[in-house]
Chain length 227, copies 2
C-alpha cells in the first residue's frame, strides 16, 4: 500500500481516537503547548502576542493555532493579537488546569522523588497530595514533605481524598498491578513513567512518558551521513 | 476546512518531516516500542512471537508492524512467527542501540539524579558518562558515581569524550543557553526535559519529554461526563 494512504488511515484512526470528546487529541496536545508557552510569556510580563509569534516560538503553524482556538469560540482581535493573560486563562479553563488538581504518586523511588520535588508541577497547578509505595522501609516516612503510605491502603485512602489523577513511577514489572489498583480506587487518568505497555478499562486514560524510547529514536539519527 | 483534510495535510507534513532519512519518524517511534517490548519478552525467555501478539501487547496493528519491518528487509517466517532474540538484535542494529551509547547529562538536580540512578538506561545501552552543572556547590562532587563538571568546561571535556547524545535536565530559563553550548561542543541529538521550546541548527535533533504537557492533556478528560 502507498505509504501516504497508509498514513491517512493512521491519521484517521488517531483523529477518531478520543471518542469521549469532540476535540481531537492532537488539538489538546497543541493547547498544552500553547498553555506552557503562554505561561512563560505571562511570567515575563508580555501582554499581547500574534499567531505569527506563536508559530515562531512553538513551531506550530499560525493557521493551525487559530484553527485550534476556533473549537472554543472567539479569541484575539485582528491587528492587535491575543491578550496573553486572557488567552492563558481561557486555555487553562479548557484544559481544566485553572484550579489546583490533586495528584497521587505511586513509587517513592528516585524518579518519584524528583517529581515530588519538582517545582514545575505546582507552577502548572498539579499538587502531589500523597505518595504510595510497597517497600516497608519507605512506608510511614516522608518523600520531601509528603507522607508515604502503604499501597495496600490506596483504595481506602483515596476514598477520602477523591483524587482522579495518578502518576506511576514504579518498575515496569509492577506497573500493571499498580494500575489495576488505581483503577479500582477511582483514578481516571494515569501518567505512566514505567517503560511498559498497560491495559486499562474503558473510561480510564493512560499516557506514557517514554524517555527511553525517545532516546532510542534519537539514537537512530547518530552516525548517519545526514546528521 | 474539513478537519479530516486538515489532518491529512498535517499527516503529510509529519510524514515528510525526517528528510534526513528514508524511514518515516512514526516508523522509528514504533520500532522503539517494539524494541522495548521485545526486550521484556527476551528477559522472560519467550522465544517466538506473532504479529497478532505484538498487536495485542502494544496496541499497534499487526499489519502496521509487518509494514514497519518491511523497510529493513525480510523478517519472520509464515506460520512460525518471529524469533524474539533475532528480531531484537536486528531492531537494535537499526536503532543503533546494539552497542553502548555514551550520553552526557546537563543539570545535576533531582531529575538529573533520578536519571543517572535509573537502571533502565543501562539496560537499553545508554550510559551517562559525565554530568555538567553551573552550581559551584555541585561542581567537583559526584552524582551517584559520576563526576560533576563545570558547564564552562563542556566543550573542552567533550573534545576528548566525543559524546553525541545529551540529556538536558536544567530549569526552562537556562535550557536554550545550555543547548547552544551543547551544539558548539559537537552534540548531535538532545533529549530535553525542560518545559520550554528550543532552537537548534539544522543537523541537530531535539526531542522533548513533556510530562507537564502530558498531565495537562490528561487533565482535560477529568470531570467530563464521558470519562
Amino acid at each position: 500500500m502507498d505509504p501516504f494512504i497508509q498514513l491517512v488511515i493512521e491519521a484517521w484512526r488517531i483523529f477518531r481516537m478520543p471518542k469521549e470528546t469532540k476535540v481531537p487529541l492532537p488539538t489538546l496536545e497543541r493547547l498544552a503547548t500553547y498553555f506552557r508557552y503562554l505561561s512563560e510569556l505571562a511570567s515575563s510580563d508580555v501582554e499581547t502576542i500574534s499567531s505569527a509569534h506563536i508559530e515562531e516560538a512553538t513551531g506550530i503553524r499560525a493557521a493551525q493555532f487559530r484553527k485550534d482556538l476556533s473549537y472554543f469560540g472567539e479569541f484575539g482581535r485582528p491587528g492587535i493579537g491575543y491578550g496573553v493573560r486572557d488567552l492563558l486563562r481561557r486555555i487553562a479553563r479548557i484544559l481544566k488546569v485553572e484550579k489546583e488538581q490533586p495528584v497521587i504518586l505511586i513509587g517513592a523511588g528516585n524518579l518519584g522523588s524528583a517529581l515530588v520535588g519538582y517545582s514545575g508541577l505546582r507552577k502548572y497547578n498539579f499538587n502531589i497530595v500523597a505518595v504510595f509505595d510497597s517497600n516497608p522501609n519507605k512506608i510511614g516516612y516522608k518523600l520531601w514533605d509528603r507522607d508515604i503510605y502503604d499501597i495496600e491502603r490506596l483504595k481506602e485512602i483515596n476514598e477520602s481524598l477523591g483524587v482522579k489523577i495518578a502518576v506511576v513511577t514504579v518498575p515496569a514489572a509492577n506497573a500493571q498491578n499498580v494500575v489495576d489498583r488505581l483503577v479500582e480506587s477511582g483514578i481516571k487518568v494515569i501518567l505512566n513513567f514505567a517503560p511498559t505497555t498497560l491495559k486499562v478499562p474503558e473510561g480510564v486514560m493512560v499516557r506514557h512518558v517514554c524517555f527511553i524510547q525517545e532516546l532510542t529514536v534519537l539514537s537512530f539519527f547518530l552516525d548517519s551521513d545526514e546528521v
